[in-house]
Symmetry: C2
Subunit: 81 residues, 2 copies
């Protein structure tokens, strides 16, 4: 099973990396981009001994405690067989 975790800065938090990319795009001639936000992306490979329910609980806990900072970031995840 694979778990995909996406961590991004909360809407209320400034994202200077994203702003820099957005300005760079403008300078390069791409006018159509109003906003860019950068986040992190994790691909976790689970071994076959883990049930889906267990995987969901584990990945949720890991995303919250290890992979993201809940003060300034939010996350979502998907599981795939």
């Amino acid at each position: 099973m694979k778990a995909y975790v996406y961590v991004s800065p909360k809407k209320s938090v400034l994202d200077p990396q994203g702003q820099t990319i957005q300005r760079a795009l403008k300078k390069l001639g791409y006018q159509g981009f109003d906003e860019v936000r950068q986040g992190k992306y994790f691909e976790l490979t689970l071994n076959s001994g883990v049930t889906r329910t267990q995987a969901e609980a584990d990945v949720e806990r890991i995303a919250n405690n290890v992979l993201s900072n809940p003060v300034i970031e939010e996350f979502r995840f998907t599981l795939e067989e």
Copy 2:
């Protein structure tokens, strides 16, 4: 329109960040995770003047030239209205 770009290290490229996370998870008692790979995630907001065809071409070019290093990384993207 929104574009979501996912950049991850190529399968053939070592991912020391991911390996460190995997070892940390093991130490924390999560035994079920065989591999962790870390990548980047971008959320681009396009203004309404851009057509879908134009957006696809622009985002593909940006993902390849600006957001990723094609020597060691691969990317995929999705567009959403």
